[in-house]
């Protein structure tokens, strides 16, 4: 049981992870994540890569929606912009890290344009405006043959870091992991700064925020740009990961997927983002693994139980919304509290 957290300096007080216990857990997590590809098969590494990409994209949406209160239904399209921008640059031999920056920046620029209506509208109206962006951008992906390959899609060359080609998922993992870590820590840090706090103030009450001297134009557009930047980088990594992409991937369904991830995980929290992305990626896999397990003894189980997976997945999401509206984050917090207070109260 921990009885207190004594902070004796401002540096200590401002630390991202102030206690030694937190730092130790974080170190253990970092070591485990770094060692992961050495101890598991390619399938698990592939899943870990997807979790990383989903975490980055969901973090972007959480910045916009969870922290700033700007609902976006066009997040998948911004990922598409990043993916196609990366494919275009990679085909021209641009180094991978520069490609990621380029993809994110282009998505951010578009985010600023799309964010302009947010100055006049909010809530559901803004959601509809971003929905229009979703359809518009997907239309561009399908029609702009010379850049996007049209409906046939585009091939993305292998990622390359200083001449070292990332041919396998194991190698891609070591690109995705640090990028995801950097972006998630960056996002968490952001909300300890003036910019991040301005975002939160806008979310809580934009008129009050303006009265306090927060420039709504500047900060709302910054939020859109930042969220889109994250989506663009995630899209670029997705392109490198799959090495080929078609416009049919970046559907409204994917935007909803990310919205569901941040709601299930916990709005306005980076930890919630991670938990939501992990949940949305791994639960369908676990359900499928259960079906595969049953199918070893009952060969027809795949046909019968597969449709049930979606039902169970849907019920799980509904269950979280009904019984734990604050998302997985709240469950995590309760779990932590019970460890902190053990054995006096569990």
């Amino acid at each position: 049981m921990r009885i207190g957290d004594f902070r004796a300096s401002y540096v200590h007080d401002e630390a991202l992870w102030p206690t030694r216990v937190q730092q130790a857990w974080l170190l253990a997590l970092a070591v485990a994540l770094l060692a992961l590809p050495m101890g598991v098969n390619g399938y698990v590494v592939g899943l870990a890569c997807m979790v990383g990409i989903h975490c980055i994209a969901a973090a972007g949406l959480n910045i916009m929606t969870g922290y700033t209160g700007l609902i976006s239904l066009g997040h998948a399209a911004f990922m598409g912009v990043g993916c196609y921008a990366a494919a275009w640059a990679a085909q021209r031999g641009v180094p991978t890290l520069l490609t990621l920056l380029w993809a994110g920046s282009l998505a951010a620029l578009l985010g600023v344009v799309v964010g302009l209506p947010s100055l006049r509208i909010k809530g559901l109206y803004l959601a509809v405006a971003t929905l229009a962006t979703q359809f518009l951008l997907v239309y561009v992906f399908r029609e702009w043959d010379s850049v996007t390959g049209g409906v046939r899609g585009v091939n993305v060359p292998n990622a390359n870091i200083l001449g070292f080609e990332l041919l396998s998922d194991q190698r891609m993992y070591y690109l995705i992991l640090p990028v995801a870590a950097l972006m998630l820590v960056g996002a968490r840090n952001l909300f300890r700064t003036r910019v991040g706090r301005a975002f939160i103030a806008i979310r809580d009450k934009d008129i009050s925020a303006e009265v306090l001297g927060i420039d709504l134009l500047q900060y709302k557009l910054a939020s859109f740009a930042l969220g889109s930047f994250y989506a663009g980088v995630a899209g670029a990594l997705l392109g490198y990961f799959y090495r080929a992409m078609t416009p049919e991937y970046f559907t409204l369904q994917l935007s909803i997927f990310y919205l569901a991830a941040i709601i299930v995980g916990g709005l306005g929290s980076m930890l919630g983002t991670i938990l939501g992305a992990v949940f949305m990626t791994l639960v369908p896999e676990i359900l499928r693994a259960v079906v595969a397990l049953v199918a070893q003894w009952a060969p027809r189980a795949t046909e019968v139980l597969s449709p049930m997976q979606q039902l169970v997945f849907g019920l799980l999401i509904m269950g979280f919304l009904v019984f734990e509206p604050h998302g997985l984050l709240e469950i995590w917090r309760r779990l932590r509290r019970s460890f902190h207070l053990w054995p006096f109260r569990s």
Binding site: G42, G46, R142, V151, R288, A289, V290, Q296, T302, Q309
Partner: protein, 406 residues
């Protein structure tokens, strides 16, 4: 115990059980395979999702072929086949995840995916691994490419080849000096757009005028303005592509109501007996291209008889064997033929060896499943036959001989 504790404890148990199941699910099979030397036929099947109408049949057909092969022929070159299929939900992410999972767990020499998107995304990895031959229900024209997609084949003609077969039929059956006018209606999807350039080129070569080209949403409901365009263009034939059912029945219904005598035609996924039956009255006059026989057409077709018999024995509740099942069965036949050729030559089951074996398949008798002897040199079976719906018998019946494209 406190309510929260109960919930937490249950959650822990559920999550633990799920994770345990995920880990355990692959272990027994892997161990068994290492000992028995079974050949794994792996698949990511679209059992749920928008392609589920076909996915269940594809899954059953491929799985049943493996069982039938084991029972009837003792497997392939003395090694039993083992089918491992999981649901892809017709989502690229999920299909790739199943692909990676099954490749890691079983190292299958052959893999069946679920879509064009999967085939394109997996092709680079498959090429880099170089030890797996793949296929899927996609007949996308750019996948029949032995140079750029070396380890992929399709058990049928490309969508472009299907369009060419339809046009060949139109050309061959036309009377008089003027060729019939054709309109093309297709969905605004990768699937729908795929053969359009090829169809136009073939029509030009056959001097068939394409008088109207209409693009719709995949499941469009209101097609009145499109039908008005067709009425003005007065085509003799309308080729529908990129749909399974909707909006074809609505098109035909409105065309009939406006007095048009145009013949509607379709491609493979609109040609299943149940799909055509679901068109209702609109099915009258429906024609289309089919690369396989229907399972009730067993005359001089021992494979079709075998399919019918096996399905009746293994799936007594199955009233009608869909074309998706037949497709899955044929994919199993090709996988087995390729592996048998490689193993009988005493070579390992590597990608290059299986590609060479695939391309060596020429004048291959499928037992009547396809009408002509099969060549897979171009990684596709470029032949098919025109079938027309008979409203009296409620069956699709042959309207032409088997047509082969170049």
């Amino acid at each position: 115990m406190h309510t929260n504790d109960l919930i937490n404890s249950s959650r822990r148990r559920i999550v633990g059980a799920g994770l345990g199941a995920a880990g355990l699910s692959t272990l027994p099979i892997r161990a068994a395979l290492a000992q028995s030397g079974e050949l794994v036929v792996a698949a990511a099947q679209p059992i749920t999702g928008v392609f589920a109408f076909a996915g269940v049949g594809l899954h059953q057909g491929l799985g049943d072929y493996c069982d039938w092969r084991n029972q009837a022929k003792g497997g392939v070159a003395g090694r039993k086949l083992r089918y491992v299929g999981e649901d892809s939900g017709y989502k690229m992410d999920q299909a790739m995840s199943v692909f990676k999972k099954l490749m890691g767990a079983h190292k299958p020499p052959v893999f069946y995916g679920d879509s064009t998107a999967w085939a394109k995304a997996a092709s680079k990895e498959v090429s880099q691994l170089g030890n797996t031959l793949t296929s899927s229900p996609s007949f996308a024209s750019d996948l029949a490419d032995p140079t750029n997609v070396p380890y992929y084949f399709m058990a049928g003609p490309t969508y472009t080849a299907m369009g060419e077969i339809l046009l060949e039929y139109i050309s061959r059956t036309s009377r008089g000096a003027t060729k019939p006018a054709v309109a093309v209606v297709y969905s605004d999807t990768e699937f729908g757009r795929d053969p359009i350039a090829g169809i136009k080129a073939k029509a030009q070569a056959l001097q068939i005028p394409i008088v109207q080209e209409i693009v719709t949403k995949p499941g469009a409901v209101d097609v009145s303005s499109e039908v008005a365009k067709l009425r003005r263009a007065k085509p003799d034939f309308v080729i529908f592509h990129g749909y399974v059912l909707a909006p074809i029945p609505e098109f035909i219904k409105q065309m009939r109501e406006s007095g048009m005598s145009t013949t509607p035609m379709g491609t493979i996924w609109s040609m299943d007996q149940t799909t055509v039956g679901a068109m209702g009255a609109a099915a009258q006059g429906w024609m289309g291209v089919m690369p396989y026989r229907y399972t009730y057409d067993t005359k001089d077709a021992p494979t079709m008889q075998a399919i019918k018999d096996y399905a009746a024995k293994a799936r007594p509740d199955m009233k009608y064997v869909p074309l998706f099942y037949t497709h899955g069965w044929l994919v199993g036949m090709i996988f087995s033929e390729v592996m048998e050729r490689v193993l009988k030559a005493g070579k390992p089951l590597t990608g290059p060896n299986m590609k060479a074996a695939l391309e060596s398949i020429d004048n291959w008798d499928t037992g009547g499943l396809t009408g002509l002897l099969v060549s897979l040199k171009g990684h596709q079976i470029a032949s098919g036959r025109i079938y027309a719906y008979n409203t009296d018998s409620k069956l699709m019946e042959p309207a032409s001989g088997w047509i082969k494209t170049a």
